[in-house]
């Protein structure tokens, strides 16, 4: 197709939107892995579960703008609770057995996917974000001079949440503990920190982020069965590219993957997945721990 600079810009914006969602989902994933070396393969299920939960709450409250905000909060808190329970009741007992934990999360994700299908069916659910977020905004270089307002909001939200996470990690005591744990877990307990409690907090936080992403992302792209697999896979790729345990890495990885995906889909549709996986393979060849990751 002929190259159109305006389309090029718009596709780039689409890539950033996608990157925003990927960042929100993968940030939780990388925190959990970075600190606890737990690969939470049920992360995508948390995204979907949070989205459905948020939708149910929003619908029960009448689908108003306030209901939407409540949905976001409920999704975050709800999934944080689920994450807490997962770590407390199952994963916490297998500390150190990474593979077993991963397999347990796979089992949970299979069950979760099926139960969600039973409850919510194969239908597509759409959210109702507040009206002022709906519709389009004028953007000078986009197609028809307009771009979806909600998507711009999404990018902004991801940046804000990213900043908050960064502040949490760098300016608070908890954040300091988390960063120390990512660097050297065993030393952490030697210093007298209640490591299991920190693990619970981080797992809850990571899970909550996934739920939050579910509502925010679902409002842009709607939700249905299969989204759990999609966002799990993208979390894996983003974190492999960006590096485990690094928030900056997730941001970079999300942007690379999101933007590459969109450009690939637009300009090279039959081979688009190769772009994403080619990037992943290239990063692994040069830096096996990701762009900003450290050796285990």
């Amino acid at each position: 197709m002929t190259f159109d600079p305006v389309q090029f810009v718009t596709v780039g914006l689409n890539g950033l939107t996608q990157a925003a969602i990927y960042f929100l989902v993968a940030s939780g994933f990388t925190l959990i892995f970075g600190l606890m070396r737990t690969v939470n393969l049920a992360h995508g299920s948390l995204y979907l579960f949070g989205a459905y939960l948020g939708w149910s709450v929003g619908a029960a409250l009448g689908k108003t703008a306030e209901a939407w905000v409540v949905a976001i909060v409920v999704a975050f808190v709800g999934m944080a609770l689920v994450g807490f329970l997962m770590q407390r009741l199952l994963l916490g007992w297998m500390a150190g057995q990474d593979l077993r934990q991963a397999l347990v999360t796979i089992g949970l994700s299979i069950i979760a996917a099926d139960l969600l299908l039973m409850r919510f069916g194969g239908v597509i659910y759409q959210f109702t974000p507040p009206p002022f977020l709906f519709g389009s905004t004028s953007i000078p270089f986009a197609v028809s001079g307009q771009y979806s307002t909600y998507r711009l909001f999404l990018v902004a939200a991801a940046i804000v949440i990213g900043l908050l996470l960064w502040l949490l990690l760098t300016r608070t005591k908890l954040g300091m503990i988390i960063r120390a744990g990512i660097d050297d877990r065993h030393m952490l307990s030697a210093l007298g920190v209640d490591v299991p409690r920190v693990f619970l907090l981080v797992f809850a936080l990571g899970a909550g982020l996934a739920g939050l992403a579910g509502v925010l992302g679902g409002s842009a792209l709607s939700i249905s069965p299969g989204e759990d697999a999609r966002y799990l896979l993208s979390s894996l790729v983003v974190v492999i590219v960006g590096g485990m345990g690094s928030l900056g890495g997730v941001a970079i990885g999300a942007v690379i993957v999101g933007v590459a995906e969109q450009y690939g889909n637009f300009y090279w549709p039959y081979y688009a997945p190769l772009v994403t996986f080619g990037i992943m393979a290239a990063v692994l060849a040069l830096r096996p721990h990701g762009l900003r990751g450290r050796p285990a």
């Binding site: 347990v104 894996l236 492999i240 039959y270 096996p288």
Partner: protein
Amino acid sequence: MKRFATRRSALFVLALGLIVYPLVVSRFWSVTIGAHALILGIIALSLIFLAGYGGMISLAQTAIAGMAAYAVAILTVPRLPQQILAIPDEPHWPAYLAVAAALLIATVMGALFGLIGVRSQGIYLLMLTAALGVGFFYFAEANYDFLGGHGGIPEVVSPIGYTSQNPAVFYYISLAAAVALYLGVRYLVRTPFGLALQGIRDNPRRMRALGYSVGLHRIAAFGIAGFIAGVGGVLTVWYNGSISPGTVDLTRVIELLVIAVVGGLIFPEGAFVGALAFVLVDTFASSVPAIGGFSFRERFNTLIGLTFLLVVLFSPNGLIGIAQDLTARLRRRRSAPPREPLTESLSRVGRDPASAHADPASEP
């Protein structure tokens, strides 16, 4: 002596049963249960080979089997679907050539995936191979030039015609392939290569110090596993009579893992036991009457997930592990010290070589 004779006769009964099987049961049971279980078992064998003897869990085996399946489909199908844009005329290769090409592709791609993951360990490798495996699914869905996209390639005829029309012959072909590959794996792990591979599984740093090339061994192992998966893939496309992205999607990837884990992740036999169990449950779940509104036919996946979870939590060595424990208890005899579950030994690999266990039972 007595035990030897009993074991001999048990094996004899088994072999007789396997051979006589298609002659006494219906077409459905020969092909859709029997051959299907054997084929899934072959692909699971490739996963178990890598996991049990190489210490590497690869979730990309389904994809590699799929690549072989696509290769056979493209090269032998009488008529390509109109969605395929980049191939003007059907290649119409003879079956033996197409199969050789497919197995070559599977081996090479297996080795390539091994190369990509050569510096990754344990859980990281699992994530990586999962991404690669599912990535192939997305590629198959998206690509219309060669792979036919969402619809895939239908009406692939095997050398013996549609396999459901020749149930006994197809069953025997699958059985022969399964037995050959199983014996091949058992033999391979006793060779110097096999032993080195297991050494690398247990303690790569030590092996490196001894002068073994850890990377090359791993890549070779992936290549071999790719070959095995490729055989499974060829049989799969003949079994289905078609290939489409649905054969390699995330559900199938996880199914294969479930089969391997439930069967027993470190035992090659586990591949086939797990596959048979899975196929039987899949078939019978729909016949179980609904209990209190909870229909197993519809909630089959929950059942699978629960079984998987229970196995991982309570018997990481799967069905074979359970059988082993039971037999040992029945005989009231202490056999060789039980092998440490793979899941635990794997956790220690690659972290602190000094504390990696010295496994007395190094013979599989």
